[in-house]
């Protein structure tokens, strides 16, 4: 494992101080109790089937000026930045490829996670997320329009509070659209966590953590599912499941996921439409300003001409 010597890495066997707090030693059942209160509301006040896409959602574009397109998505405490760069020739490849390629990279900020500090070098989880992101985006992009070229998509997760893959896919979809990369449809994603009978739509980090922990009782369903969809075309572009659950459960929650993916679409559309409107207004304003300037210049010119002629 190559170390980055430019930064202080700390001793190899350092551990988080949180290991010695009471919170750390909580048992599975205690953690489970904590997730839902008496009114069957979650910690942040949501219902079980309520996603963060409605009132805790924020998205914008064009925050990175050097990138062709960029997007920022916030699901309450999950914050993701994505930038898309111009197509460039595929490096280190001597074969011609008929289809353009997408290069995706997902990176966690070192301070993004609650439990551990993220290492500087990409770890297995980040690599897996990058692969999943590419899988999700590829079907949506018209790759035949830029043969032998690749488009780079970089996602940086600033804060991770659950559903980071879904947020990354949403952000990347928005950024690709913002970069005017031709696409077949808007791509959206949603994830949910399953613990026993309960289905947590758009889970937080605590819920995800518990969902992938194996319960003591044999045969309980648990796990996380993330699905990305092109809603207009009714196509699933990626489906990721981890944990252990019976098949009826998978097929049952698929409908929930489908619906959730659809509800995010208007959010994304709004941002894109606002962009167009803004762009249009800006151009109009620029044109008006240009006209004004030209009129002023012409007036000046006339004045000079008069003076010259007079002189």
């Amino acid at each position: 494992m190559p170390l980055d010597y430019r930064r202080f890495n700390g001793p190899d066997d350092s551990v988080s101080y949180k290991r010695f707090t009471d919170n750390y030693l909580k048992s599975y059942d205690e953690l489970y109790e904590e997730l839902i209160d008496k009114n069957s509301r979650r910690k942040d006040g949501r219902k079980l089937d309520e996603a963060r896409s409605m009132c805790m959602f924020f998205a914008r574009t064009d925050l990175i000026s050097q990138a062709k397109g960029s997007a920022y998505i916030e699901l309450k405490k999950t914050k993701v930045v994505c930038s898309v760069f111009d197509p460039r020739e595929i490096p280190h490849q001597n074969e011609f490829s008929q289809l353009g390629q997408l290069y995706c990279e997902v990176k966690f900020a070192p301070f993004s996670c609650v439990r551990q500090r993220r290492p500087h070098a990409p770890d297995a989880e980040e690599r897996a997320l990058s692969v999943a992101l590419r899988q999700a985006l590829e079907p949506a992009v018209c790759r035949h329009l830029f043969p032998n070229y690749q488009v780079d998509v970089f996602v940086y997760i600033l804060e991770h509070d659950g559903a980071c893959l879904a947020a990354a896919i949403n952000a990347a979809g928005l950024a690709l659209a913002n970069a005017s990369v031709p696409m077949y449809d808007i791509i959206t994603a949603c994830s949910l966590a399953i613990i026993g009978e309960k289905v947590f739509v758009d889970p937080t980090e605590a819920e995800e953590h518990l969902a992938i922990m194996s319960p003591d009782t044999e045969g309980t369903n648990h796990g996380i599912i993330t699905m990305s969809m092109m809603s207009e075309l009714k196509q699933v572009s990626d489906f990721m499941q981890i944990g252990s659950m019976d098949v009826q459960c998978v097929t049952k929650v698929m409908e929930i996921l489908e619906k959730e993916c659809e509800t995010i679409v208007p959010n994304i559309q709004k941002v894109l439409v606002l962009n167009v409107v803004q762009c249009f207004n800006q151009r109009k304003q620029l044109e008006a300003e240009a006209k004004e300037r030209e009129a002023a210049l012409n007036a000046k010119m006339e004045e000079w001409k008069k003076i010259l002629n007079a002189g």
Partner: protein, 309 residues
């Protein structure tokens, strides 16, 4: 698949075959190709297996080491998968060429074995919070003729079934450090409970239909395949006369998609259901084969006939 050239006509031929449920090698859409399985082939590994599925050749070796358990899971052992795409398989794997494929397979395996309902890591515990077994599962791809994921998962399960972990005779606490005493006798060892270990089933979408066990040519024709990991059933892995193991419903431990295409939700559901059927029969066949082999090897030293036939 790497280095394989198919003309459009050949592709259409394969596609039409799949449509009529009669594939180019005579199978139907739900048939597997013949398999050859041999366990205990590598003498320096704790457990090993070699699986040949038509042209796909996989060798798996399991090495055991002692490690310190993770602080948040003090009573669990560790499991690690490494996939090595040998350049023998195709020249394209040379250098770092096979890295992406290797990564995706080992990721898939890691995810499939994540849940305790798939593989109980508690059986690898030696001394809670202090020491545990760590299994390094090294997967070597010697030849690839399509359907790597399924073959790898089968070979891994067989290798784990074959793995022997030495008994710990005594553990001495010495000022916070632990001194283990292991038996010198290699036969003084325990076997793992791998009955519920998951198998991966790849469903390759060709035209409108999904096929299991795609050959390299068929993989070339398809733009999307679905990989489903399903837990096995313990009852297939214990001799009939032993204590009755209850039959359990198999569960999904992982689902993933692979390839540049996308599928409709309904197709996805159908494919998952098709995967369950395939996984079940695969699991049963594997269990029978492994038990049969174990029975044959009791008492007599295994007659070894060259492992890369």
């Amino acid at each position: 698949m790497a280095g394989l050239l198919l003309s459009p006509t050949e592709k259409v031929f394969i596609l039409h075959g799949v449509q009529d449920d009669y594939r180019s090698d005579g199978r139907s859409n739900i048939d597997y190709r013949p398999m050859e399985l041999e366990t205990d082939v590598v003498s320096h590994a704790s457990g090993s297996a070699r699986l040949r599925l038509a042209n796909t050749d996989i060798l798996v070796g399991v090495k055991t080491e002692i490690d310190v358990p993770k602080p948040d899971k003090p009573d669990c052992g560790k499991l690690e998968f490494f996939v090595d795409c040998s350049a023998n398989a195709t020249p394209e794997f040379e250098g770092r060429g096979g890295e992406q494929l290797a990564n995706s397979i080992s990721n898939m395996m890691q995810k499939a074995y994540h849940s305790s309902q798939a593989f109980n890591l508690k059986q690898l515990c030696i001394f809670e919070g202090k020491q545990c077994w760590k299994l390094y599962i090294d997967i070597l791809i010697l030849e690839c003729g399509g359907n790597l994921c399924d073959a790898v998962s089968l070979a891994v399960k067989a290798a784990l079934f074959n793995t022997r972990i030495p008994f710990v005779k005594a553990a001495l606490m010495d000022g916070g450090n632990i001194d283990l005493q292991l038996s010198d006798d290699p036969y003084d060892s325990k076997l793992l409970d791998v009955g519920s270990a998951p198998l991966l089933v790849t469903l390759c979408k060709i035209g409108d239909k999904c096929v299991v066990d795609p050959s390299a040519e068929e993989e070339n024709c398809s733009v999307i395949s679905l990989i489903v990991g399903l837990t096995g059933d313990r009852k297939y892995y214990y001799p009939k006369d032993a204590d009755k193991q209850q039959s359990v419903e198999s569960k999904c431990t992982t689902i993933g998609m692979n390839g540049p295409g996308s599928v409709a939700p309904k197709t996805l559901k159908d494919a998952i259901n098709q995967g369950i059927v395939a996984a079940k029969s695969l699991d049963e066949a594997l269990g029978q084969a492994l038990l049969k082999e174990r029975q044959q090897n009791i008492g007599i030293k295994k007659h070894s006939y060259g492992f890369l036939k």
